[in-house]
Symmetry: D2
């Protein structure tokens, strides 16, 4: 039982290796009749692709996708939607040096041990290149959400020690895409960019957090007791390469609060029941309550660095590993569209599942 | 598509409401031939049950379980194992006051909205009482792990602002059960107990974190790209009542590190490949690497408090909600066996899944 | 990955052995708000239970069920519905003679080989007693179908060589329950009863077919390309003990027809599109077309017979097996409610799944 | 919850429409280390493709596939294997005449009703062209079976009234591929070919049965109580286009036998426990018993015929439908590799599942 599918009602299955022939995704369960905007899908892929700015890897992958099935006359037919991206800039030779050695904090060692065998080119299946498939599927999920007035946002709110303390409600979210680091506070964004450039010059990398936000989510999404909305969001986020942690609502800081401080008091806002505070992060008992859903996702520093590192080879002998050429000094800016995509996939899955709950 | 099952190979389905006739669990996929120790299962249930110490709720539920199927002559037969706990101390009348009002930060409102209808007695299905079923199933998962030399631990490492800073390697884990708060540092434990007692007197509640640890995990568990070992652990933990966050390895603090600091260098330890540091938390690329797996789980303060709170009733009118009688001032001590159970369930599921990976 | 669950949206999981403590079922996914009639469930169980007439086994099992969860104030809550039947007349001693021998055409041998170990009492999990759990769940599925005006029927249309040739449209289906053999043609029913009594006296058994019928099925149920409505019906039927074959619509006799004879011509019946003939059996391309769904299910003669039979024991030595006491000379009459239950479960599952197909 | 996946451990998902850009399949769960022979996959596809002989449709589809992922240096890596066939001979114009009318006994009507919308070109997703993807995946499943000494066979044993009565044990199965109709009895094959040619001249079609056979199946495959081996085979077969029925072992003829005749007596054949007869068809209690597994699959006459037929259009007005150009007079010869593929997929899935059954 391999694990390359996500979702139950809106189920995606991704395939493809970093330097194989192609990678892609099948969506099984997209409702019929949805208008599919190929330009939008391509736009989303471009937000994730390498080479989009100076603070990300300079690899040149156009990430142009082809739609192979499931859409007729511009609309989804209810049959599987498949999208494929043929690999172009697959400089496999770049990776010959790691064919026999294990890069520190990469998946080389564990893949070799698990499968007895691995496609070492560019990390093979373990490469973050796989997330392009998620972004393509996520673009369709977003289209469906938009048609229902549900909005998803994500932005970088921390890089290394640079932390944006301003609450999301005080930010102008329309500015997220104005900066290459995808932080809506322009001043902080400039600092982050400078810092990442400095890190890049050192051949080093740095981690950070992405803040995720959903506005307009209907009440009732989430399936207790295991498929709670936040539990599926947690799994979705932790399934992204380099992700180390997830918290929603008050999260890790909520543990210091007393119940009397933390509880979100209900009130009637012109016929709509709302809560005065939102430490719950829009989810109570695993089910959306109509308030904003928000969460924080931690990403470690990228494992690929330029300086030589100690390691071992496949037979356990000491070996040196050197980072070559193009790497991401900070994964955060490119993680933003991935976080958005996974958020949208979780929400659409639960929107469809919710359709079966009542008689 | 409801969400009351967890796991794919070792799949559990739980049922039952807080004040219904009974609650329980079916395990489908337990391998045949495992010796089932009913005393151990009962022992685990007792670690979770109310009334076990002065810092937890004083409700009197014996949580005595019955094994209904799947075991013959003391061993699992490979058929579904079902266990049931009949409810006894079901003072439904205690809950009449909330039949029509929504308790702040409880699931009353969202259940009502989602299902159009709810069993209001004790929170019904949303009650943490459901976790008894998980602990019973987890006891069987633990038995299987033990037979393979895999050990799972969990302990409380933070309550409110009281944080245990000592790394787990310097603690005597055999002391966890020596304190009612389940913290292996006896001095810190005493402080935590005092603090919880104080909170209890105020009729208030407080949050905290549980630290989870797995020793002896074989290399190779975890199914990329979605069912990464830590992604399934995250979902498992976030599915527990009151859980607000999960981080593994370096977690949220890893974001401040550079790649050159964070990378875990491989070395050969007498024929066994290990890493010098373990910021990866024993998992790389979603697959266990043989090092200790460790993680942190955040729990918010329990929503039930004694003081009167403002709220609304089902028709949106202002209402007052009062906590009555017996409540948990801090869920952490009782969360420990639940975290252990969910950890064991994830591991056993992936152990079985790993059996199919190679030719 | 054991196989004790059925359905995806309306998912049942059954548990329990023939002579264990109890057997039962959990339904996960029953929509909230359905009125649950416990008398009806018991009534359905009574139609399946032993001892109900002279042509079935005289074992005395009341099959009284208890509802443990998922229902509040008479209505489903959307949470798992669990039902359990505690075993009473569990004469385990009757089975000591087969503890070490393999009964011909039973599952003793295969269970022993598969699991390395088996509960030999009454066939353990392989006993048709497990189907009581299906009937209980099926009763709830039927209730849901009824609320939508969908009717399911099943009757015996062949026992040994006695075959009812009258088409179902010419039969009075209200008479099915008037005869102990559950055949609506009273004359044929009488013949069948006589024949089964004769077989019973011989200590022998006989096979037959059950005809299944659904009226009022909405257009659109079934999920190509694998979960076609008839494919799921086939699996449902073949999963019933002693079932050897399934055909729908023209079935095995359709193979002798030419396309020009077999094709069902569409016409407009006062605004409703119907087909003039119905060789398709109400399903085209795996999707219901609104016409009657009908199918045929073959059951082999029960393996338990009274005369001594040759066999081998667990170490492969020659052994004799003798049928003892109470056995079913013909499984068909009791198979009728099981076929109905499985039919209802498939339909409800697809009704719920269909809710997610369109935007 | 759409239904385009099959299998749980060796899970395939197919995509693509008859006249879309491409069709294909992802296999998730193929064990790592399997040698993948692309020539063999292409060979299997050629056995299914149109235009291979005079008794099948003369459409010219090369069905050349591309392997996109999951294989490295000739061996499976344990990651998803994806294969795609780009469509070439997509004469969409041929289908403009049915854009608005419902072809009798096709899926035009039901797809339109289910999805509210359909890709009418060549039947879209409902076309049997989708089975090419199954055959490609089945070729890999067969490779795995062969490596374990398990052989699968299928042949045509009935076309219209022409029925091959010779038991499979008396046939020379190596001759199956010697005739264009895929019947190993050359005399009967010649009769069948003549008959199909006659039918073709009439512009008509005819049905038949395919006999399936597995030799060398290990004991223990099948997961009671729902995923019995024969239940999964039934579903697999009924999911194939035009399939109307399935029976295994004694099947529908077994219903006329008494238990004393039907029971398969065990004996010890030089240390191996076998049964003297095999009415069980190699499966008892849903689990393989090591004897030959055999079954029969009924296919209706193809719905596309040349003569004009009455029908209605999408608004319910009378319409005429005319078959154009190239059609299959009898689907049976091309169904043989599809039946084999689905058989192999079921077996591999259960082989992998069986790995988790014992401690």
């Amino acid at each position: 039982m391999a694990g390359n599918s996500f979702g139950q009602a809106f189920k995606i299955t991704t395939f493809g290796e970093s330097h194989g022939k192609a990678l892609g995704v099948i969506i099984d369960g997209c409702p019929a009749g949805l208008e599919i905007d190929e330009d939008f899908i391509q736009h989303e892929l471009s937000r994730r692709r390498p080479g989009q700015s100076k603070i990300v890897t300079q690899r040149k992958e156009a990430d142009t996708f082809q739609l192979l099935s499931g859409v007729f006359e511009g609309k989804s037919t209810g049959t599987p939607i498949s999208m494929v991206i043929f690999n172009q800039d697959a400089r496999s030779k770049d990776y010959s040096h790691i064919a026999n050695s294990y890069r520190p904090s990469h998946a080389d060692f564990t893949y070799q041990q698990k499968y007895g065998f691995r496609d070492y080119r560019g990390g093979g299946r373990s490469s973050a290149r796989e997330t392009a498939a998620r972004v393509a599927a996520g673009a369709i999920a977003k289209t469906l959400l938009k048609s229902l007035g549900i909005q998803t946002y994500a932005y970088v709110n921390q890089v290394g020690d640079l932390k944006l303390e301003t609450p999301y409600k005080e930010l102008d979210l329309s500015k997220i895409e104005d900066t290459s680091v995808r932080c809506p506070d322009l001043q902080m964004a400039a600092q982050m960019v400078d810092y990442i450039k400095k890190i890049k010059k050192q051949g080093d990398t740095i981690g950070g957090t992405v803040f995720g936000l959903v506005k307009g989510c209907p009440i009732g999404l989430g399936e207790p007791v295991f498929d709670k909305l936040h539990a599926d969001l947690a799994k979705a986020m932790l399934s992204i390469n380099a992700c180390k942690g997830f918290e929603y609502g008050s999260g890790f800081s909520g543990i210091r609060m007393k119940g009397s401080e933390h509880n979100d008091v209900f009130y009637n806002d012109n016929g709509k029941i709302k809560t005065k505070t939102n430490h719950s992060g829009g989810i109570q008992g695993g089910i959306s309550n109509g308030m904003d859903i928000y969460f924080n996702v931690a990403f470690k520093p990228v494992a690929t660095i330029i300086p030589e590192q100690d390691s071992v080879n496949q037979v356990g002998e000491p070996a040196k590993v050197v980072g070559k050429g193009r790497h991401d000094p900070c994964v955060l800016p490119r993680a933003v569209p991935i976080v958005e995509a996974m958020t949208a996939l979780v929400l659409v899955d639960h929107l469809l599942r919710q359709r079966m709950i009542r008689l």
